[in-house]
């Protein structure tokens, strides 16, 4: 028979109640402050949520590491690409003169930008590292217009919580939260190491999210959709990659 004293019973009862209500309060607060990732379900949901919540609390305003010019990698590795579609080849033949970036969703003025429009916006250059989830990495100078500027031009609603971005590659889209979307180093990138962004690196237009793994920096961006929920997109977990088991948040 277990020797259970009254004091032990009261103490453990109180501890259990406090722990349970603590968890409920924590979950409410996490939801309120946007600390729950869209892929919080399933057996890895707890780990994803802990990682996302703790890194968001630590890094809402932190800047990705930047490097001096002499540390730019001489041979940046563009990684594997699917063969280009007919549509892409068509754009490439025209020198991307007809390439458009459309902005829709929760914006006051849905808009469409040509590459010339984007290059006319105030540009930013950052020498940051692109690191792949596989383990390799290189440093390059990335030039483009801050995503926050384009969102400002289109007038993103204050209730917006995510930006979904779509590639010209078939069935390729991803999303980031506003902390990354409004981050000064997050670029709609059209230049690399002082020249046009090469096609193997995502030219003419790629997303650069330097505080997350390379797979969040989609190539060939054609569309931005501002939203307050990712439930309506794909299977609701925020990206195509997550259908293959890859985390939506890739800060680690």
């Amino acid at each position: 028979m277990i020797n259970l004293s009254r004091r032990k019973l009261i103490v453990s009862g109180l501890a259990t109640t406090a722990g349970a209500s603590g968890l409920v309060v924590a979950a409410r607060l996490a939801q309120k402050y946007g600390l729950i990732p869209p892929d919080h379900g399933g057996i890895f949901g707890l780990g994803e949520t802990l990682t996302y919540a703790s890194q968001r609390l630590l890094t809402r305003h932190s800047m990705a590491r930047e490097f001096p010019r002499d540390r730019i990698s001489p041979r940046p590795f563009p990684n594997e690409l699917d063969p280009p579609t007919g549509e892409f080849k068509h754009h490439q033949a025209l020198g991307f003169a007809d390439w458009r970036l459309s902005v829709d969703g929760m914006v006051y003025q849905p808009a469409s930008f040509s590459l010339a429009d984007l290059k006319g916006c105030p540009s930013r250059s950052y020498i940051t590292e692109l690191a792949c989830e596989e383990g390799w990495s290189y440093i390059a100078e990335w030039t483009g217009v801050p995503l926050s500027h384009v969102l400002h031009l289109a007038g993103a609603h204050p209730q917006a919580r995510y930006v979904v971005y779509t590639s010209m590659e078939p069935n390729t889209w991803d999303s980031i939260d506003m902390a990354d979307a409004l981050h000064p180093q997050t670029l709609l990138c059209y230049g690399m190491n002082g020249s046009e962004l090469p096609v193997p690196h995502g030219g003419p237009l790629r997303m650069r999210v330097p505080r997350q793994c390379g797979y969040k920096s989609l190539k060939f961006i054609t569309r931005l959709t501002v939203t307050d929920s990712l439930k309506r997109f794909g299977n609701g977990c925020g990206s195509v990659a997550c259908q293959y088991g890859y985390a939506w948040y890739a800060g680690i």
């Binding site: 057996i43 994803e48 932190s62 990705a64 590491r65 990698s73 041979r75 088991g245 985390a247």
Partner: protein
């Protein structure tokens, strides 16, 4: 837990039971309940970290020193294994299936479990003086003769004597302290340094290790060291008596199962 005196004391020396109905005092457990629970949680998460870590390495079995490194640069060394990525030159004419999605998710979830368990163990160890009582070696433990004996004895496949069933020798104490206070912190640090977001908040965590790729290489070598420790650890358990030692880590009671029944 707090009332259990030094585990070196024989059973008779422990405090008499408060319950008068039980005539024989219970001996102090070989391992306290918290040590046992955290041991097995750590073992389980270490296994998950190992399997998922190997899967992740397979996607790029090349290691570099410094900040950067890709298949276009010269590696420090490469593992002679096939890869799950077509563009990694391995010498094998086949590509393994990509397992990185669940491997990364499992790796980070298991890391959370391991780190939180480790923190609990650390606080417990400090509060109950577990480190000082059970792991910090005495001066006598640290003599060269005693350390050498502890090293050579298992090499001759000599079973430890009964006096070693209730406590650790100097070499074991030093090894456990090294694993707990050097290898575990280093593997956590080098792992976190590979997180782009963590590095943005704490850039020194990467620069102190010599760069992102150095952090990855250190993470690999510390993991190898931990696997070596695990190997020797299990070997020593087998040598000392697998069932009695494993039983002690499960039930807390030392001695062979025969003695207990």
């Amino acid at each position: 837990m707090a009332t259990s005196e030094s585990p070196r004391l024989p059973a008779e020396a422990s405090l008499p039971s408060r319950v008068s109905a039980a005539p024989v005092a219970k001996p102090a457990p070989r391992h306290s309940a918290l040590v046992r629970v955290t041991h097995w949680i750590t073992a389980l998460s270490f296994f998950a970290l190992l399997v998922s870590g190997i899967e992740i390495v397979i996607s790029h079995p090349r290691f570099y020193w410094g900040e950067t490194g890709t298949v276009l640069t010269t590696p420090l060394f490469r593992l002679p294994i096939p890869s799950s990525r077509r563009l990694v030159p391995t010498g094998y004419n086949y590509v393994l299936p990509d397992q990185n999605g669940w491997s990364r998710a499992l790796h980070f979830e298991a890391a959370w479990v391991a780190v939180l368990t480790g923190l609990l163990y650390l606080i417990f160890g400090l509060v109950t003086r577990h480190f000082r009582k059970d792991l910090v070696p005495s001066r006598a433990d640290l003599s060269w003769r005693s350390l050498l004996t502890s090293f050579v004895k298992p090499l001759r496949f000599k079973r430890p004597g009964p006096e070693e069933a209730s406590s650790y020798n100097g070499l074991q104490r030093l090894t456990y302290l090294f694993v707990i206070f050097v290898l575990f912190p280093l593997v956590i640090w080098s792992g976190l340094a590979m997180s782009l977001a963590f590095a943005s908040a704490f850039p020194w965590s990467v620069t102190l290790l010599g760069g992102r790729q150095s952090a990855r290489t250190i993470h690999f070598f510390v993991s190898v060291a931990l696997v070596l420790f695990l190997f020797v650890h299990v070997l020593m358990v087998c040598l000392a008596g697998f069932w009695s030692r494993t039983g002690a880590m499960i039930t807390g009671r030392a001695g062979t199962p025969k003695e207990r029944t």
